[in-house]
């Protein structure tokens, strides 16, 4: 884990018609790290994602203060088109990300590369690779609009992967999906995380997030309320509650046991950890 791919310093932002949506936000993401962003509705999570690829402020206008540097580029000094090769942004609703200009899954993935003017052979290689990575092999010839929600979201991820961005930004990629869709998309994200991709992901499914996030940032009313390793942030159950975020249930259970029953368990943040801790305590391993 070396240099910081994303560096946000004292970022403060107001939309033209809404003040202080982000206030003094600072954090960084190193190469190969996964940062999870959590927080209640309206906290400014999506706005933060858009600040990472320059849509904020280039597209939305408004006032911005502080500094955002992504892959060595200051977002204030580069256009969204330039930043799009470094930052791959995936939105909540996969349908909104379909260009509507591609007849097939293959063309949809190729679209971004075509827009960026890559040569054909390179496009072909990258498209095949990206489709394989998200597990859509065999569906190249389908219409994007015939896919299930989970497949469409994986396609959206593939369109971004094909560009080989230095960082992947996912804004609630599973919010619109049914349980199977969620599972499919999480599997892809976990795989990418294991392979060493640098990822920023906004996610409400805390239990899932805990299994692959290195660091977590808790945002509320545009302010950073907690920032640190996943464990540091998630084990502060009272604090999460205060900002309307449900901690993982194993974390909460252990926390309550420790507090009410007086046990002295280590606080787990994933089921796997909980299993180890409890198995040990019960003497069955």
């Amino acid at each position: 884990m070396g240099e910081a791919v994303v560096k946000v310093e004292n970022l403060t932002y107001s939309y033209p018609r809404r003040e202080n949506v982000l206030v003094n936000v600072s954090f960084e993401v190193k190469k190969g790290e996964v940062l999870g962003i959590i927080g209640p509705n309206g906290a400014g999570k999506s706005t933060l994602c858009k600040a990472l690829n320059g849509l904020v402020p280039h597209f939305y206008g408004g006032r911005i203060g502080g500094k955002v540097v992504v892959a060595g580029m200051d977002t204030m000094k580069h256009t969204v088109a330039e930043l799009s090769t470094k930052v791959g942004l995936v939105f909540q609703d996969p349908e909104d990300q379909m260009s509507g200009l591609a007849l097939t899954v293959y063309e949809e993935v190729a679209f971004g590369l075509m827009m960026l003017g890559f040569p054909r052979e390179e496009i072909d290689a990258r498209v095949r690779d990206a489709i394989k990575k998200v597990g859509l092999g065999g569906l190249e010839g389908r219409s994007p609009f015939e896919l299930s929600g989970g497949q469409m979201q994986r396609l959206a991820i593939a369109t971004v992967l094909a560009i080989k961005p230095e960082i992947l930004v996912l804004d609630e990629p599973t919010a619109q999906l049914d349980p199977i869709g969620k599972f499919e998309v999480f599997s892809v994200i976990k795989k990418l995380a294991e392979e060493g991709s640098t990822i920023v992901v906004v996610e409400h499914e805390i239990e899932e997030l805990a299994t692959f996030a290195d660091n977590i940032l808790l945002l509320d009313e545009g302010r950073v309320r907690a920032y640190g390793s996943a464990r540091e942030v998630l084990e502060k159950v009272d604090q999460l509650r205060k900002y309307g975020v449900d901690p993982p249930s194993v974390t909460e259970l252990t926390y309550i046991l420790n507090k009410e029953v007086g046990t002295d368990f280590e606080i787990p943040i994933t089921i796997e950890e909980a299993y180890k801790i409890y198995a040990e305590a019960l003497g069955v391993s």
Binding site: K50, N53, L55, F59, V80, A81, E82, S84, T85, L89, F91, D93, E95, D96, Q97, M98, S99, G100, L101, A102, L103, E107, A110, F111, G112, L113, M114, M115, L116, G117, F118, P119, R120, I123, S143, F145, E146, T159, I163
Partner: protein, 280 residues
């Protein structure tokens, strides 16, 4: 979601007849050309001919149903309601030629040619615009059209405007459908006054319109984040070359223009219907 998805899909049509294969530019030209011509001429029979030709092409391309439905919903009621009013005394300021008397309750009510002619010609002019525009929209593959425009070095802004229009249409259709369903589920309440009805209607229409516009903006953002306006030479999937079919269609348009120019010079602006000119 349902309808908008199927419309988006439709614009990336699977059925391939020669109408679909025609270059988007040629079909767009047909739309503009026909719309201008029916405006230059003042002849409802000519308008009808244009509509029939367009419908024949649409039937061949298997997209006639939505076009016919739209014409039925917009044009037919207009002719049915406005034309009778226009043809009666005081219905139309330019009325002077009486062509018929209706006997009604002991009165003889005159029917005027000017109002009648105007009342039939105008809706049909609009009908030509709508049907040719829809033929273009429903049979043109957006991906191909956009590729063509990139190749022609059309500024990104214009290309984007076209895409936005293409994508707003299904969203609005979707919205109209939602409103219709909501009205139905409210059981077309008869116990409320017209003001209250209007209020309910606006309470539905406004948020839905805003959300449709919002989604178009999100789509714009998504396109932009994928390098849509990156200042480079785009790699294109489709060849934007005219094929022989395009040349034939184009030649037909040119020949028809020459013939119609001759007709205009020889017989005037209303060669078939023989109407007298009224402003517009």
């Amino acid at each position: 979601m349902g309808i908008s998805l199927s419309l988006l899909k439709r614009t990336a049509v699977e059925v391939e007849t020669f109408v679909q294969r025609l270059d988007g530019r040629v079909k767009f030209l047909y739309f503009i050309w026909a719309s201008i011509l029916v405006y230059i001429f003042y002849d409802f029979i000519l308008n009808l001919i244009f509509i029939i030709v367009t419908l024949l092409l649409a039937i061949y391309a298997r997209v006639a149903k939505p076009i016919a439905m739209t014409l039925l919903v917009i044009i037919v009621p207009w002719i049915a309601i406005a034309t009778p009013i226009l043809s009666l005394p005081l219905g139309f300021p330019w009325n002077k030629t009486i062509i018929y008397y209706i006997k009604f309750a002991g009165y003889e009510i005159p029917v005027y040619l000017e109002g009648l002619g105007w009342g039939i010609t105008w809706p049909l002019r609009i009908g030509v615009c709508i049907s040719t525009a829809m033929l273009f929209y429903l049979t043109t593959n957006q991906a191909r059209l956009v590729a063509t425009m990139f190749k022609m070095k059309v500024p990104f802004r214009f290309i984007y405007m076209l895409i936005a229009t293409f994508q707003l249409i299904p969203l609005l259709v979707d919205e109209a459908n939602t409103i219709f369903q909501a009205q139905l589920s409210r059981g077309l309440r008869t116990d409320v006054g017209i003001i209250k009805k209007l209020y309910y209607y606006l309470a539905l229409v406004i948020p839905l319109t805003l959300s449709a516009l919002n989604r178009v903006q999100i789509r714009a953002i998504a396109l932009e984040s994928r390098g849509f306006s990156a200042p480079v030479t785009k790699t294109l999937m489709y060849e934007a070359e005219f094929k022989w079919m395009d040349w034939i269609f184009l030649s037909t348009i040119i020949v028809a223009t020459i013939v119609l120019a001759y007709v205009y010079i020889t017989y005037g602006y209303s060669p078939i219907a023989g109407l007298e000119y009224i402003w517009g």
